[in-house]
Symmetry: C7
Subunit: 70 residues, 7 copies
Amino acid sequence: MRPVDILDRSKEKRVLIRLKNGAEITGILKAFDLHLNLWLEEAEERKEEKTVRLGSVFVRGDTVVFVSPE
Amino acid sequence: MRPVDILDRSKEKRVLIRLKNGAEITGILKAFDLHLNLWLEEAEERKEEKTVRLGSVFVRGDTVVFVSPE
Amino acid sequence: MRPVDILDRSKEKRVLIRLKNGAEITGILKAFDLHLNLWLEEAEERKEEKTVRLGSVFVRGDTVVFVSPE
Amino acid sequence: MRPVDILDRSKEKRVLIRLKNGAEITGILKAFDLHLNLWLEEAEERKEEKTVRLGSVFVRGDTVVFVSPE
Amino acid sequence: MRPVDILDRSKEKRVLIRLKNGAEITGILKAFDLHLNLWLEEAEERKEEKTVRLGSVFVRGDTVVFVSPE
Amino acid sequence: MRPVDILDRSKEKRVLIRLKNGAEITGILKAFDLHLNLWLEEAEERKEEKTVRLGSVFVRGDTVVFVSPE
Amino acid sequence: MRPVDILDRSKEKRVLIRLKNGAEITGILKAFDLHLNLWLEEAEERKEEKTVRLGSVFVRGDTVVFVSPE
């Protein structure tokens, strides 16, 4: 069992991502790679009180704190 | 399917880029490389209330939080 | 004896993780890898006064300050 | 087409560089390397309200956010 | 003589560790590796006015500023 | 022509170095290496209103923003 | 001549070390390695108004801004 197994199981499911800059992104996980770069669909960014609809988004792996399936 | 596929599909389209320093850049994505360095045309930087017209711009990959096609 | 031995012994036990952003995550350690990426179950994040239930979570190794079995 | 092509085309032209510390440097781009280290001539640094004339300057690549030809 | 020799001599002794986030950890040094990851027993974290008893702890090497035997 | 050529030409001359922590160091450049580590003589550090005479100093390359011959 | 030569010459002498977190450490330089990890004896840490006697200390190289023989 490896930590990335939890990402494999989360494919096509909605995940919550906490970023190093304090923002949160939620979306449907479509793909990830070894750097933990992520591709999400139907994504939204929440930071403080603000929500931004992103739709498709590529998130750079080195900005990620954690990924949690909802 | 890999996360960078979403960048491939976004070529010649307008993308929104969030940077680690909190700024946003939008522009037409012309090219990217493995470090996620990006080349944009017709680019603008927005930070807090200020907008700066950049035209052509090379964005260093390690400053990127996410890239989202508009 | 190597430092990671303490992680090996902590598998299937509850651990406290301090993150670089000041938050704390607790959960049952299921797996870790060489980058110190962690997979936790029954996880909770605490930051300042706020607690967020995460359930399953993948924590990126480079955001970790320390891991301590409870 | 690669992102660095835009730097190649900008040689001997004035470029605007935004740095991670929030400062801006403008100058004539003379050379760059794979780390994105830059050599500028007739350079100026602007930070908040202050302008400093630098003349020749070597800028370390890992401090760069973006480079834009003027 | 190499700098890590001082860590070798500190095994099974109480050490003071200053972390990049400003916190201090003290504990009995059990093991360290080439990344400067540390395993401590009977450890305590002190940050500002707060003390947290950790017992066993794995400290990630890249968060360490210095290690000093007491 | 490479960016480090400007450092080669600056040997035995006074250079201004801006650091990531906002400080400035000036001194006579004696040597540099591929990591951009620098050896200066007759060096001074200026930060906010304070000036510290350093004499000889080894500056770690990864703290450098730019180097400019005076 | 290489920048590390200045460290070689500083062995067994008192050096001043500025750290990225703003603290200063002084001590007798006993050893250093390629990562710029340092071993000091009779060391003291000064940060703002506070001085802490450390005695022997291992300083992690990536926290160093500069090293200057006194």
